[in-house]
């Protein structure tokens, strides 16, 4: 049934499992995870640290191969990193020896794209993100929020359809974090990208995504799948910042909080 039903899925995971091997033994990070993401959909995956959320993104991006099951992008099994999928990591990891513009075209350069076009596109993106003045600056001259915007430009410069976001705001202070979440959500929606956001921040997940998937503790298994709707916002999707002020936000927050079984250990 699922194969036919999900023919239009942009990203699909079928019974995916992953084990890490080491001298100390093997660690089962993910067990039998199946879900699919429609084109243009914004999905958040939440779970406690160590539940395999980031591993899930590495599998979709193709830099890791599943021990069990299949990952499909556009209906085709993922064999390795490919241009359809862009991956934004937890920190910006800008190369300190490259200027902002040179950093933003890194992906295009590695993929052997037309560099003149790539530079133009990167400059356009950076200017749109308010970094037009800083194209030839070095990363160390920029603040954390600015650096993460460069990282976003670097991801989008290669024009992926699917954008994977691995706690992209975790390293930022709380104000920058909320402001940047607004910007990023807006940019991804406007360019109608399919987005998968991994986070342990429940508020971030609810405010940005249309769907929140909850993973259990290790080994990560799919625990539940929630559609996020904001009826009070007149049918339209509120910005992440506005979403935080709706009555639905609190409702979702409370039910997800209970589901995560958050408790402080030690």
């Amino acid at each position: 049934m699922s194969a036919a039903a999900n023919r239009d899925a942009k990203v699909e995971l079928r019974h995916v499992g992953l084990c890490y091997f080491g001298w100390e033994g093997e660690t089962e990070a993910l067990r039998d995870v199946s879900f699919s993401v429609a084109p243009g959909e914004f999905v958040a995956i939440i779970g406690q640290s160590g539940c395999g959320k980031s591993t899930l993104l590495s599998l979709i991006s193709g830099i890791l191969k599943p021990t069990d099951g299949t990952v499909l992008v556009d209906g085709k099994p993922v064999a390795g990193p490919n241009r359809t999928v862009g991956y934004m990591l937890q920190q910006d990891y800008l190369f300190e020896w490259r200027t902002i513009l040179e950093n933003a075209v890194l992906g295009a350069e590695i993929q052997g794209a037309d560099m003149r076009k790539a530079r133009e596109r990167a400059a356009t993106l950076l200017t749109r993100y308010g970094l037009g003045r800083f194209l030839h600056y070095l990363p160390r001259q920029l603040s954390g929020g600015m650096r993460q915007r460069v990282a976003l430009a670097r991801t989008l410069c290669t024009e992926p359809d699917v954008v994977l976001l691995d706690e992209p705001f975790a390293a930022l202070d709380s104000q920058t974090r909320i402001a940047l979440a607004d910007e990023v959500a807006e940019i991804l929606r406007r360019e109608s990208k399919t987005a998968i956001l991994v986070t342990h921040d429940i508020g971030e997940a609810i405010s940005m995504a249309e769907r929140v998937i909850v993973l259990s503790r290790r080994p990560g298994q799919l625990k539940s799948d929630h559609a996020i709707r904001f009826a009070s916002a007149n049918g339209g999707r509120p910005t992440p910042f506005a979403a935080r002020n709706t009555p639905e936000f609190n409702h979702y927050f409370n039910s997800l909080w209970q589901e995560l079984e958050v408790h402080v250990e030690g």
């Binding site: 990193p81 862009g86 590695i110 600056y137």
Partner: protein, 276 residues
């Protein structure tokens, strides 16, 4: 984006000017003390032998250096002027440490590329690095002959430490930067040229600093054994015929050569690091 405000720079506050003045005075004081230390050493070196507190035959005098130098310009053992001796040593040193850098970098890159190779060779590299390479001077002389053995010693003495330093520099490159390149589908060659090599530039500079000194040691020791040209030879010759003037002049030139190499590397470092 300089943290210093341009307007404030054009119109410094009184407190800032006071601070600047104090900092400048501090710098001048340090330089003055450094020169003073040198001066005291030179004066002691001149006065103690003249006062017969140490035997002048053993130490010579600083004031004898310049006349000796002038005399060595005209005639030296082996008929070469002291400039030719200096040149021979400098050339061997530069060749030695350039070769050590290039060969060391290539080997380190190969070890990075084939990690199994590194796992196998690791203990041998560590032992080779810990061995006193100077023990091989006589063997190199037999194997390589007079001139090549000097170059060989200069290379051998700095090669293993270069490999180990650069390899650990490669290992020290943030694995998340490599992961980032992989998300774009980077090949191993691209990871090497776009991430690992440019990320290791500070290590290259550190290796250069270590090597400049080590290669000079290699050349001098090599020359002790086998040369008929070079400052090492001059030192050996001078001490054999008990002419401390020649020995001390050669050693002073060595000190100058080391200082110049240090300055050259410091300049290179500043030029490279400006972009970081």
């Amino acid at each position: 984006m300089s943290k210093v405000d341009a307007a404030a720079l054009a119109n410094p506050s009184l407190q800032y000017r006071v601070w600047l003045k104090r900092e400048r005075r501090g710098r001048i004081a340090v330089r003055t003390m450094q020169l003073l230390v040198l001066l005291v050493l030179l004066v002691l070196w001149e006065v103690l032998p003249r006062a017969q507190l140490v035997n002048p035959l053993l130490t010579s005098y600083p004031s004898a250096l310049w006349p000796t130098f002038l005399q060595l310009l005209k005639e030296t053992p082996q008929q070469a002027s002291i400039l030719s001796h200096t040149w021979a040593t400098v050339l061997a040193t530069v060749l030695g440490f350039t070769a050590a850098m290039v060969v060391g970098m290539v080997i380190a890159a190969a070890l990075w590329w084939w990690s199994a190779l590194y796992k196998v060779l690791d203990p041998y590299l560590v032992v080779a690095n810990a061995m006193p390479k100077t023990a091989f001077v006589p063997i190199f002389y037999i194997w390589l002959g007079a001139t090549l053995s000097i170059y060989g010693m200069s290379l051998a003495i700095s090669l293993f430490i270069t490999i180990l330093m650069i390899y650990s520099g490669f290992q020290g490159v943030d694995s998340n930067k490599i992961k980032l390149a992989q998300t774009f589908g980077a090949s191993k060659g691209q990871i090497l040229t776009k991430v690992v090599l440019p990320g290791s530039v500070p290590t290259f500079i550190a290796a250069l600093k270590v090597n400049a000194g080590l290669s000079l040691v290699g050349v001098i020791v090599g020359e002790f054994q086998s040369a008929s040209l070079g400052l090492g030879y001059l030192i050996q010759y001078g001490s054999q015929i008990f002419k401390m003037n020649i020995v001390m002049t050669a050693i002073t030139i060595l000190a100058l050569v080391s200082s110049l190499m240090y300055l050259a590397i410091a300049w290179l470092e500043a030029a490279v690091m400006r972009r970081r």
